[in-house]
Structure formats: structure tokens, C-alpha cells
Symmetry: C2
């Protein structure tokens, strides 16, 4: 190994260590910090962020990269050394291509934007939010132009969350998905059938929910000697070190779904993080591949596994023991209730099917904004029209419509599609795992979930960033990304339930 390569690795690991400290500060702020401690915590986090930034733009990185480019170390693109180099180059470019003034302007605009969003949403006043949104989008366009792109401007932003992925590919998959989702949703709506959802909103004691959730998370393979579960308002998963993965949830004593499927979801994220190669912690080969691939792991455990019949063949008797409220509920009724599909206004509360339509609407609109095909002032109308068209409902207010998500105010443009990409990847990976492992249903009925974890670990988690998401999907499933496995998954579950 060359000195330059070793220095590059050491320096990148130092950045990762500082980032891991920032993660702990952030986790603590969201889970444990006394109320009055917030102001100083902000100073601590800003200080660490400053240290990270100084290290990220260290010009020595550029010199080390020059020395290692074109050597044997970077020859095989999927090798660990080439991946270390490629990732370091990618990060260095992102940090150094943007003019300092633009970075500062973005920081200000997204800080101000988030504050304005909170207020405007509370007051249901889009006009108040509008100038901030205009500024954010103007700066995001400048950012895309400074970073550069081949085909379309949106590529430069998407790349922040789905490295190497192209807008055209994502658009093709999500467009095909939408064209099949809308008629399926209409058929469900017209079926006249609906489950009794009230069984899910009975008394569910928080302690029992916690015990049951912990048991399930452990069973699917989240390692609690390398992680924890805590309570927060907004659930998340974070890593404060290679053996320190922290997931969170929130409990509603009168709603079963929130905590349980939330825990499966976050545990899925956690299992991905815990499955990364520790020896490459902080470097490309030990880094999660993309937000879409990350989401595929959470969605797979939440939906493909956690909302399946065989899963509940094993867990339902246990759930009935744990919760008195389920004593008189048949497994069939419970299963229908947790799989009910119905158009609704709020993305984060949406079901497995309509969730994707919420995402597709945002994806289409943010592309239009970035390409200046629409202007922010027209956004509420465009939003409402799409909700009418795809979901058949119209938001009564902008607060429950175009202003429901924090993302745009925070400058997260290009982020939304990764949620649905996660659903597509999840279905496609799961289909392959089922084939290779000779039928997962039978394993799940026996309460055996670790085979799937092992499979995903080997095929997905341990591959790190050694290849692009598109290459990974090809490598794992033998074909490119397609919407057909998600549609197959939804149809095979929902058509019998709704008799369509």
C-alpha cells in the first residue's frame, strides 16, 4: 500500500470518528438531553461540524488522491481500495466544488427555511413560506450547476442521496409503478370491502408494546449488544460507532401499528448498519450504499416480512398473549386490518400502496421546480391537482398539503424518490431471497428470520459502496431495477383481501 493511500484512509477515518461523535450528540439531543441543555448542545454540534468541514476540505486530500489515481489501487473499480479512493474523491469534489458563499447561503437559507416552515405550517399560510422556498430552490439549482451533470440538472441533486443513480432510470421505474398503482387503488376503493381497523386502536399498554417490539427486533436479528432502542418523537436510526447502532420509536397506548411496525422498520435500518464491514468503518467499502438501498432494508422487514401472513402465523399467538385487546380478534381480521389500503392526506401515515403515490407526487413536483417548469407560487395548486389525480382526494389546507413535509425547507431536494426506490429494491431483493433460500414463508412460520438477515448481509450489507445501486440490483437479482416485483407483492396480497 502506498503512503498516500494510508494517509487518505487515516484521514477519512478521522472524519468518520468526528462524525460518530456528532451522531452521539444528536442522538442524545433527541433522546436524553434535558430541555434547557439545547442551546449549548447546538454549540457543541456546530463545533464538531466545523472540525469535520475543515478536515473534509484539507488540500492534502487532493494531493493524496492525485498520487493514487491511475495506480493498481484504483484499477478494479469494485475492489476495496478503488472504492476507498472513489468515495474519497466523490466527497472531496462535493466539498470543494461548491463556492464557500454558496455553502454559507445554503446553510442560512435552510436554517431560515425550516423556521419559516414551522411557523407557516402552524398558521396554514403558504404565502409566508413562499419566499423561503423560492430562495432554497434557487440555491439548489445553483448547487446542481456548480456540481455539474451530464443529462439533467436533477441528477446532480439525486446523487447526494442515491450515488451514481440517474433521474431517467428512477423516473422510468416510478412512472411505470404509478400507472399500475392508480388502477389497483381504484379497484380496491370500488371493492366495497374494508377491514375493521378499530381492533388496532384499542388499549395497547406501552410496556407490553416495548417488550413485544424488543422481542421481534431481536428475532429478526438486530443485535442489542451492539445497539439500543429508545423513545423519541420522530423515530430514527443512527450509528455512533461500528458497534453502536441506536434505533428509536414512539409509543401510542391506543394504536398498535405505530411502535410495532416502526420498530421493525428502524431495526431493518439497524441490521443494515450492523451488517456493514467493520474493518472499513468510515470508508467506502464499509459505508451504506444509498438512502434507497438503506430504505429497502427497513421496508423489507417492515412490509415484505412484517405485514406477511407467515410472519403472523408465528407472532400472532404471541401477540394475543401479550395484548388482552387482541383476545377476541381473529388472525385473519388482524391481518386484514394491518394491510388496509386507503387514500389519505399525510405521507407518513400512509399505507404500503398509497405511500408510493405520495412520493411520486413530490418527485414529479421537485423535478419541475428544479427544471423551472413550474414556479413555487404555483406549487399548492399543482400539489392539489396531483393528489386529486392520483389519490382521488384533495387537501383541505396547505398545512396538510404542500407544507406537510420538512424536506424542501431543509434543502433536501432529490431525497423523496429514495423512499419509493427503497420499496422497489425491497420487493426485488425479497423475491430473489425467497427464490435462493427455497421459500421464506416456511421459515417465518417457524419463527426463523435469521436466514434472510444472513442473506441480505452477504449480498447487500457487506458490499458497501463497492458498486452503484444499479450494479448491486443487477448483481443480486440478475436484472435491472423494475417496478414489477413491488406490484406483484402488492397484488398478491391485496387482491385476495379485497376480492378483486
Amino acid at each position: 500500500m502506498s503512503d498516500a493511500f494510508d494517509n487518505l484512509c487515516a484521514h477519512t477515518r478521522e472524519i468518520a470518528l468526528l462524525n460518530s461523535i456528532e451522531s452521539l450528540l444528536d442522538w442524545d439531543a433527541r433522546c436524553k438531553l434535558p430541555q434547557e441543555g439545547n442551546a449549548y448542545r447546538t454549540e457543541q454540534q456546530a463545533y464538531v461540524a466545523k472540525l469535520v468541514h475543515e478536515k473534509q476540505i484539507d488540500p492534502r486530500i487532493g494531493q493524496w488522491l492525485e498520487e493514487v489515481q491511475g495506480t493498481d489501487l484504483s484499477a478494479d473499480p469494485q475492489s476495496d481500495s478503488a472504492t476507498v479512493i472513489r468515495e474519497a474523491q466523490r466527497n472531496y469534489d462535493k466539498q470543494t466544488k461548491l463556492p464557500t458563499e454558496l455553502v454559507e447561503a445554503l446553510t442560512r437559507a435552510t436554517n431560515d427555511g425550516q423556521h419559516a416552515w414551522v411557523e407557516a405550517r402552524r398558521e396554514n399560510d403558504f404565502g409566508k413560506f413562499l419566499p423561503y422556498l423560492e430562495t432554497v430552490y434557487r440555491l439548489k439549482r445553483e448547487q446542481a450547476d456548480a456540481i455539474g451533470y451530464d443529462q439533467c440538472r436533477y441528477d446532480a441533486l439525486l446523487d447526494d442521496y442515491e450515488p451514481g443513480e440517474k433521474t431517467t432510470t428512477v423516473r422510468a421505474a416510478l412512472e411505470a409503478l404509478r400507472q399500475e398503482l392508480v388502477p389497483l387503488l381504484e379497484a380496491i376503493q370500488s371493492s366495497g370491502k374494508r377491514p375493521d381497523r378499530s381492533v388496532l386502536t384499542r388499549d395497547y399498554h406501552v410496556e407490553c408494546q416495548e417488550a413485544f417490539g424488543l422481542e421481534a427486533a431481536r428475532a429478526i436479528g438486530f443485535e442489542f449488544d451492539r445497539g439500543r432502542l429508545d423513545v423519541t418523537h420522530h423515530p430514527f436510526c443512527t450509528e455512533a460507532g461500528p458497534d453502536d447502532c441506536r434505533i428509536t420509536t414512539r409509543y401510542d397506548a391506543n394504536f398498535f401499528n405505530m411502535a410495532f411496525f416502526g420498530i421493525l422498520h428502524e431495526a431493518g435500518h439497524g441490521i443494515y448498519d450492523q451488517g456493514l464491514r467493520k474493518s472499513y468503518y468510515g470508508l467506502g467499502p464499509g459505508h451504506y450504499l444509498s438512502l434507497g438501498i438503506h430504505e429497502s432494508q427497513s421496508r423489507m422487514w417492515e412490509n415484505q416480512v412484517g405485514r406477511s401472513k407467515p410472519f403472523w402465523d408465528y407472532w400472532y399467538p404471541r401477540a394475543q398473549q401479550q395484548f388482552d385487546s387482541l383476545g377476541d380478534v381473529s388472525q385473519e381480521d388482524f391481518y386484514f386490518a394491518i394491510n388496509h389500503v386507503e387514500p389519505s392526506l399525510i405521507r407518513v401515515e400512509a399505507d404500503e400502496l398509497t405511500y408510493n403515490l405520495h412520493i411520486i407526487i413530490r418527485f414529479e413536483l421537485e423535478q419541475a421546480l428544479i427544471n423551472e417548469e413550474i414556479v413555487p407560487v404555483d406549487l399548492p395548486d399543482a400539489w392539489n391537482a396531483k393528489y386529486k389525480q392520483y389519490l382521488g382526494i384533495e387537501p383541505p389546507t396547505d398545512a396538510d398539503g404542500v407544507m406537510q413535509d420538512v424536506h424542501w425547507s431543509a434543502g433536501l431536494v432529490g431525497y423523496f424518490p429514495t423512499y419509493s426506490l427503497g420499496n422497489l429494491y425491497a420487493a426485488q431483493f425479497y423475491h430473489q431471497a425467497d427464490k435462493e433460500l427455497g421459500g421464506l414463508d416456511e421459515l417465518f412460520r417457524r419463527g426463523e428470520f435469521l436466514e434472510l438477515k444472513r442473506w441480505a448481509g452477504e449480498k447487500i450489507h457487506q458490499r458497501g459502496r463497492n458498486l452503484t445501486p444499479a450494479e448491486l440490483v443487477n448483481e443480486v437479482t440478475g436484472e435491472p431495477l423494475t417496478h414489477s416485483y413491488l406490484m406483484e407483492h402488492l397484488k398478491s396480497k391485496l387482491e385476495p383481501l379485497y376480492g378483486i
Copy 2:
């Protein structure tokens, strides 16, 4: 204000911010960290410690100090500006006076020493520990010589924990204390009276202990919007920011004292930290004065307040409501049980009286070692002889004798006396507060504890490091440190209980 002074403040605050991050990493490691996360956490803590050290020896500090020394800013020694300067000078001297090789040798010796201590203690093999102990003491002598001292070598070490305090003063006070404690203990032993301690080792549900402890901590003034209480094996109090004080305790479901008096103790430390001036966080005027003064605040709430009759006049009916086990126990019997005095082997389990004899033994022995009046190989015999002489008992093993504490293996020489200094300060301060506030007993009987907190805040906490411990005692009580208030406190409580 001069630029040099501003720069000095900003730089010192930066060090404090890094230290506060280190405190959080440490708190988390002791309270929350998943088992396997330890190795990487050690790296994170070492990294922050390295950043702190680099900042502490920054030669610009020396330049700024030169510029501000002798100016108006340092003219009045008790002013805030002079205190900032004095503390910065003190820290800079400590960091720069020691040769790098000595610092490194001490780090190695104390790391190795602690590991060896754990093993030697487990195997009850002092011989195994001996060479490590010899090395630590040799290096501590070198440290004292490098730092320098006027009167005696031990001064240079004591100063790390009790800034500005002199060995002769401490020795005089503790010697006088010992001469009165030993006969008082003998009288108690000969009285033939002893309480029924079994009432304290009944069932005490952990949830009830937690609720009761939280209520008491809140009542004496620990602010939970600026702090938290968690569970650890070794209780402690730490600050992760000016509004983020974290105390810990441990619960034994079959022993009342451990958690309850532990919580009062740590809450006392926390109240001190929360009472420091926030605007000077990280600078001398906002820094706790000394370990002895810190301990005085924990001991005052634990012993002067928490083991007093009036305290339990208010709390005992509440305790009986909370704990079924106290239903048939009279307040008098409970009060005698929590104040029982009896010689025992282990310092951390000792009662309010004999605790000081444990400390005095260590204080005498570590002075003798530093002055080379005895050598480490003779330590077990010297230890056992003193236990016989002062406490009338002899340790059956070195594990429960000379090897019971981690301090010496960790290089903490000069630390022990601060525990008893804390008891002396506590009694002397409390006597003064009682006088000035017109009788605390009556307030306590009504459940009013915040007057004492306010008094200590104004007289002690807000004074920071603007004066020495000796100056503070004089300022607050109008006389120098004396053992007589602690003796008065112990006698007035114990003589009636034991009928002596």
C-alpha cells in the same frame, strides 16, 4: 477589555466545550453504551482528549498571559478577570511544566497500574500489584518535583484537587479530627446499644425507590429541566454543558440506603454545578472551586440534611406511604438505623463517622509514601496497623485492605483528603447557614429546603474560583477551617442515640 484577554477567554471556552463533549461520551459509556461499543468509544474519548491537550499547550496562551499579567485586569485577585487569568495561568503551567516523557510515563503507568490492580485485587495478591504501585509513586514524586512546592512535596499533588490548599493546614485539621473521633467511636462501641439495621434491608421496590429519590432530589433543588438521573454501577455526577448536569445512582431492591442517600449525595454535587455562574462556564469564575468544596455540597445534603431528624419529620410519613416495608417501623427506629456507627473494612460502605478514619489512614500513608518515609512493600503492614489503631479491626485480606481503592493505581495521590475536607467544610458551612437563616430545622420540618440551596448558591456556588478554599471558608464563616463543627454535628446526633 484587551484583545489578549478576549482571546484567552475564547480559547479557554473552546477547551471547555471539548471537555463537555468528553463528559457526554463518558456519561454515555457508563450509562447507555451497548457492551460491544466500548472499544470505539475509547478511541473517540482519546481523540477528544488529544484535541484538548493540543489546545491546552498552545503557546499563544503563554503570549496572551504575558500581555494581561500586571494589567488592571489582574489587579484585584478576587475579580472575575483576575480569576480568569489566574486559572488560565495555573492550567497552562500544569500542562507545560511537566516534561512530555513524564506525562507519557504517567499515562502508561496509571493505565497499566489500573489493570494490574483489578487483577491483583481479584487474586488478593499484593505482590503482583507492588511493582506497578512503586512505579506510580516514583513518577508522582517526579511530578511533584517538576511542578515545584514551597513547604512539602505533597503540596504539589494536593494542589491538583484542592487548589491553593496546603498540606500543613489539612494535616492539622484531620489530625485534630482523628484525636476526637477515635474516643467517640470507642464510646459508641462500648455503649452496648445498636439499632435494628434489618429494617433497612427489607423489600424496597426499585420503582418506588426511584420515585421517592426523584421527589427528594427535586425538593432539595436539583433542577431536572437542566439535568437528569440515570442508573450506573458506580454513581457519579458530571456536566455535559452549563444546563446539562447528569447524576446517577444504583438501586438495591433489598437495601434502602444505597440509592436514597446516594441520590441526595449526587444531587448535592449537581446543585453545586447547577449553581455555578453560567456566563463564566469553562472559565475560573464559573468553575467549581475544589474537590473538597464540591464534596462539602454533596455531604451537606446527604448527612447534615438527609440524616437529620427534621428532614425525616417531613419525609418519613411519605416514605411510609411509598414503602410497605416501613409500615411497622417507628420513625425513631428508622432514624437510629440510618445513623448507626460501626467500624468496617470498606471505605465506600462506611458510616458518617468512621468514613473519616478510613480517609485519614490513606492520607497519612500517601504522605509517608511521597516523602519516602515508608516504601510500598511495607504498605500492607502499615495499613493493617492503622486500621487496628484507629478502627479496632484488621483486614483479613489485602483485597479488602490496602487494595480496596482504585485511586493509587490511577495516580490519584492527594485526592483522598478532599473527601474528609468535604465533611469538615460541610459541617462548618451548615452551622453558618443555620445561624444566618434563623434555624433550618423548622424549615425542614415543613419540607422547605430551597432556602439552604439559595444560601449555598449565593455564598459558595457563585463564588467559583474567585478565591481559595481557605479564603472561602473564612469569607463564609468568619473563621478558618476547623474540625470542631463536624465533631459538634456528630456528637450532638450520636451521643443521644447511643446514650453516651
